[in-house]
Structures are given as C-alpha cells and as structure tokens.
C-alpha cells in the first residue's frame, strides 16, 4: 500500500503578530510547525502502512525551509519525502495549490502507484479545507472528508470502509481505492518515532522538485497567475465604539441584581421568552 500524505508548514498562529500601524503580518521570529490537522492524517496513514505494509510518502509545497517539516514527518515515521518548491508557486491560492500538488502526485504515480492520498482537514493559516478536495477531484479519486475512523481496508478487493462525520450523525461509507481522506481532529494520537526513525530522518535525502521536475508544463496555472482569487484588502477587525458598561453594586448579590435589571432592560422580550420556557411551554 502506497500512501501520500500532504502536509503544510504553517506559522504557529498563536504567535502571529500584526504590525499596529501598517496591519501587516510580522513574521520575525514566528516559529513554524506542521499544520496540526495534518498530523491526524499522517498518523492514520502510518497505522495503515503498519497494518498492511507498503510505504508513506510525505509531500509538501512551500519555500525551501519547508523541508524541515518533511524531515519532522520522517522522524515520526514516514518513509519518503518530496518537497515541491519553485518561485512560480508563490502566491498560490487553493486552486493553484491543488493543481501543483495533484500534478506532483501524478508524477509520483509514474514510478510508484498511489493507493491513497491523505490531507489535513484544513490548515490553520488558510483555513479553507479546499486543497484536499481539490487534489482529489483532479486525480479522480473517491473523496472521504471528515473521517473519524477507518473501519476496514481490504487491499485485495481494493475496498475501504470509513466513518465520516456529517452534520447530524456519522455516515458509514464504503468505496474503492484509490481514495483521498481527510481525518477529523482528535481521532488518533500522533506517535513518537523511534531513535532509528530520527536517525533516518536526519540522514534522509528529501527529494526537491521544481515545477518542471514535478511535470508541470503550464506555469500560468501556478502561483498568483493560476489563482482566481485576489486578496484586495487586509485589515484589522474594527473596535466597537463603546466598551462594556460595568454594572454598579457592592458585593455579588447587588452586582447580580443590577446585571439582571440591565439585561432585561435592554432585551425586554427575553424575559417573557425565558418565563415561557421555564414554565415549560
């Protein structure tokens, strides 16, 4: 079983700062991490490999330093890594990103068939949840998003059964390989690689592909050029004109009473609604 896992290196958004005057992102010193959602997919892929044999290839598109995240994935247990990097990719939106990644996966398939592709549910910087479906659609694979459990895989029949979260419940789906899966967060716990994994990761040759090496011929489908969306404006959320009005009172009881008065004064209908409800209507 050969599984490709798409991971993205993202800035740790907990540490992002915004320039107070120009409203631009200040990246200085902001550490990067593997998109946390991708780790659930990586772990699931590793489990399948452990169960059925084969290999896991991690793939990322990003600047040269994104190699760090690939090496980290190798240290967790992935077998092989491909970095897609080219200045032509700069400014890619989700359409251009999924085009580049899908083309690279096709390139990988030329030498080794791919049975499954895993992507993260979404990224914490782009947050779109579009790239996975985008890749899947281009590769003509079956799409399984928000998977919370891989119930069974039958490599001989090339069948897979998964539990997929939907709004009102869980769908149990059966489909054929090849398929693309995005895992729901919290569904498994990323493993701690062995010392041998760490040595292998530190010494591994990460394959670095330019757009051309990945088999991309039409550069106009990459980067800003290949992106239909245009970011016109970036700005800070506007502050509300008024700050919260503190209620007056000495002690908890008085404060609570004052707060309730203020609540019902500004929301008169709320009181009758609550009354109806507490009377059991």
């Amino acid at each position: 079983m050969h599984i490709v896992v798409c991971i993205k290196q993202v800035p740790d958004s907990a540490q992002i700062r915004v320039h107070p005057v120009t409203n631009t992102i200040m990246r200085q010193g902001v550490p990067t991490i593997i998109n946390p959602y991708d780790l659930f997919s990586l772990e699931e892929a590793l489990r399948l490999r452990d169960a059925f044999g084969g290999k896991v290839t991690v793939l990322t598109m990003g600047p040269p330093m994104a190699e760090d995240s690939l090496r980290k994935a190798l240290g967790i247990g992935a077998d092989d890594a491909v970095l897609l990097t080219d200045r032509f990719f700069a400014g890619s939106d989700t359409l251009a990103t999924s085009f580049a990644l899908a083309t690279a996966i096709q390139k990988i398939m030329e030498t080794e068939p791919v049975d499954m592709v895993f992507a993260g549910k979404q990224t914490i910087d782009g947050d779109t949840a579009q790239v996975g479906p985008g890749i899947c659609c281009r590769l003509g694979m079956q799409q399984l998003t928000y998977v919370q459990k891989v119930e069974s895989v039958d490599p001989a029949k090339r069948e897979i059964v998964v539990h997929r979260r939907s709004e009102g419940g869980v769908q149990v789906l059966k489909t054929s390989l090849p398929c693309m899966i995005t895992m729901l967060e919290g569904t498994n716990q990323i493993r701690y690689g062995t010392m041998d994994d760490m040595f292998r990761a530190a010494r591994a040759d990460v394959r670095v592909w330019s757009a051309a090496a990945a088999g991309i011929e039409d550069m106009t489908r990459c980067g800003l050029r290949g992106s239909p969306t245009v970011v016109k404006k970036v700005f800070a959320p506007k502050a509300r004109a008024q700050k919260a009005r503190p209620v007056d009172g000495e002690g908890a009881e008085a404060l609570a009473a004052a707060a309730i008065e203020a609540i019902f004064a500004s929301q008169p209908k709320l009181e009758s609604d609550l009354l109806k409800q507490s009377a059991g209507y």
Partner: protein, 363 residues
C-alpha cells in the same frame, strides 16, 4: 521563457476584466443543504444574505435543491421561496438521497455550466465544504471559505471578507475574472431572515441528474444519527453561558452549568477548556469551535481573545464576568460585572431563579 511565464507579484490593484465566456453569468444562487429530509438552517441564513446581494445587483435569487423524490424535498423548495428565493433549481433523484460527493458534484457542476450563475453560496458545514471544494475545482473558479461578510463592490464583484491568520486580521477576497464567484459561510454568521407567511411561490426549474447508481463508486452502508439529547446545540441556542480559564479549576465549571440550567441555556467554553478536557470539543465557542448568535451570551472568566471574539460577535447582548476591567472582552461585551466569577455566578444563578419563579407565579 515568454513574458507570460514569469512569476507574478502582488495583484491587489488588479482590475476586473471579465473574459467573454463569463459575460452571461448572472444571478445569485444558494445551495439549499438537504440532509436526511431536513434543511440545514444555514441555507435560510444564506438566502437572507443572498437576497441582499441579488437586490444590489438587480438580479434574481435562486435556491438549488437536490434530494430524493419525496415530500421533504418539495418542502425544501417551498422553504426556499419562503426565505426569499425567486426561483428554485431542483434535481430530484434517488441517488441524491444521502449526501455523497460524486453525484452532488456532478449535479452542481452541470447546473452551473448550464444555467451560469455569477455567485454561488454554500454553508460552511461538513457537507457544504466537501462539495464546495470539489465544485470549485471542476469549475476552475475561486472559492472563499468561511466568510463573515459579503458585499458587492463598485465593479459589481463579490467582495468576500473572512478572518485570516488566526482571526487577528480580516481580508477581503475577490474572484475577479472567473465565474461563478463561490463562497462558504459558517452557520450563524448571517442573521436568520424573516420567513414569508401564507402561500409562497416562485419559478421552478427541474433538471434531471443523468446518473445511475452503478456510476457511483461510494456506497452508504449506514447512518448513525447523533443522539441529539446529549449533543450541544450551541449554534442555535437563545441563551449561552460559557466559562474560561478564569474559572481556575475544572470543578468550578459546575457554576456555569448551574446558571445555564436555570436559564434553560446551552453551556460552552473557551478553547483551553476543551484542550484540558474540562468540556467536550463540540462545546468550544470561537473560530475553531462554534459560532453562536444567541440573544444573551454570558462569558465568565474568558479574556476575549480574537479567536473567541469572532465566534460570539453576533450575540445580541454579551455580559462579561471578569476580574480584570481591562480584559479584551470589554472591547466587545455590552455589559460587564467586574468581579470574581466564583461568587458572581452563584449569585446570578440565585437571582435568576428567584426572578423567573416569582414572575411565573405572578403571571
């Protein structure tokens, strides 16, 4: 290398130059999300928002309904009119009973290619996101996810605003030269529009799917419905009480639950509480949790970080309970009790209990 084959730099100043093939794309469409006989309320919210966009553009608003031949599907059509659609595009086929990516993607792609809308809105639900991601790819157009605000700019393009970089900034994204312009919007971000009373009607365009079950590779083996009694219904609750790290220890979260119970409210919390396992993840409120839009939101011991803020800003009234008068939450709450949540919460619970029971007896 031709000039065309050079990497481009920024395009913020780019102008709209719609290619010939898109000139006839017109009207605003909302995908009406029908799953297991029920329409997700986000679809009505989007029809409300779509109405405004259509009016601004002077075009029609259409609902797109896909489902099995059944009364519930027809009810979704009627609901679409009720919430403002002028027209409904309807695909009825047994294949569309349960959501599966393949038939729905084909259905939507065909509809768009045939009837050519300029704007297509979907709810940012598990279904909407799954479908939007593939349809944007088959149509090779732009898709802006998780929008918080939609507008029409001077050139008549959709200006879709969404949080970026963990909510610390907002950005406005346009799909200038491709059609349709697609966006997903999370439940409860847009207000629920008033439903029209009485008889409603509108245009109906029925389109066949042209697909056989044998063509669909993915099969539904089972559907395990959520046990709704225990599931949080935060997004649609009228009153929500939430706690944050200011509660100090997990035992104190009971004070939040007590108040919620007296108010018949849903309870929730900030992200660290979920990470620490004090509450379930479906009770997290904020950017990576639920967006809520209650009439009353009570936040105890929550600092009001931007990621929390974006999930609660739609509340009609926000009461903050915090020891720190300068906590960021004071910038967007309406009322504040400056004090220790551990004493304020029980006092509020008691006071509400009295008020509601006294008045009930009086009433």
């Amino acid at each position: 290398m031709s000039a065309d084959n050079k990497p481009a730099s920024s395009r913020a100043g780019m102008k709209k130059q719609l290619p010939e093939k898109f000139i006839n794309y017109k009207h605003v469409w909302v995908f009406v999300e029908l799953e297991r006989g029920e329409v997700h309320p986000v679809s009505w919210e989007l029809l409300g928002e779509g109405r405004k966009l259509a009016d601004k553009l002077g075009v029609q608003l259409a609902g797109v309904v896909m489902g099995p031949p059944a009364a519930t599907t027809r009810a979704a059509v009627e609901g679409s009119y009720r919430y403002g659609a002028d027209t409904v595009y309807l695909m009825e086929d047994p294949l569309l009973t349960d959501y599966r990516n393949e038939p729905f993607t084909k259905a939507m792609t065909d509809l768009v290619n045939t009837y050519q809308p300029e704007i297509l809105l979907l709810g940012a639900t598990t279904l909407g996101r799954d479908l939007a991601g593939s349809v944007a790819t088959t149509l090779a157009t732009g898709l802006t996810a998780d929008c918080t605000e939609l507008a029409i700019d001077d050139e008549g393009s959709l200006a879709a605003t969404r949080p970026t970089f963990g909510g610390s900034l907002l950005c406005t994204i346009h799909t200038l030269n491709f059609r349709p312009q697609m966006a997903t919007i999370r439940p409860r971000v847009m207000a629920m529009p008033e439903a029209k009373d009485g008889e409603v009607s509108g245009g109906l365009i029925e389109v066949p799917l042209n697909m056989k079950e044998d063509d669909v590779i993915t099969k539904i083996l089972d559907f395990i419905a959520d046990n709704t009694t225990n599931k949080a219904q935060l997004a649609y609750a009228d009153v929500v009480v939430a706690g944050g790290m200011g509660l100090g220890k997990p035992e104190n979260f009971k004070l939040v639950k007590d108040l919620a119970e007296v108010l018949g409210a849903e309870y929730g919390g900030s992200r660290p509480l979920v990470q620490k396992g004090w509450i379930d993840s479906d009770r997290q409120i904020g950017q990576t949790g639920k967006t809520i839009r209650p009439k009353l939101y009570i936040a105890a011991g929550i600092s009001g970080a931007i990621q929390h803020r974006v999930g609660v800003e739609g509340a009609d009234l926000i009461l903050a309970i915090n020891t720190d008068p300068n906590a960021p939450i004071m910038d967007f709450a309406h009322l504040a009790i400056i004090g220790d949540a551990m004493t304020i919460l029980p006092a509020l619970t008691e006071a509400f209990r009295k008020r509601l029971s006294v008045n009930r007896m009086a009433g």
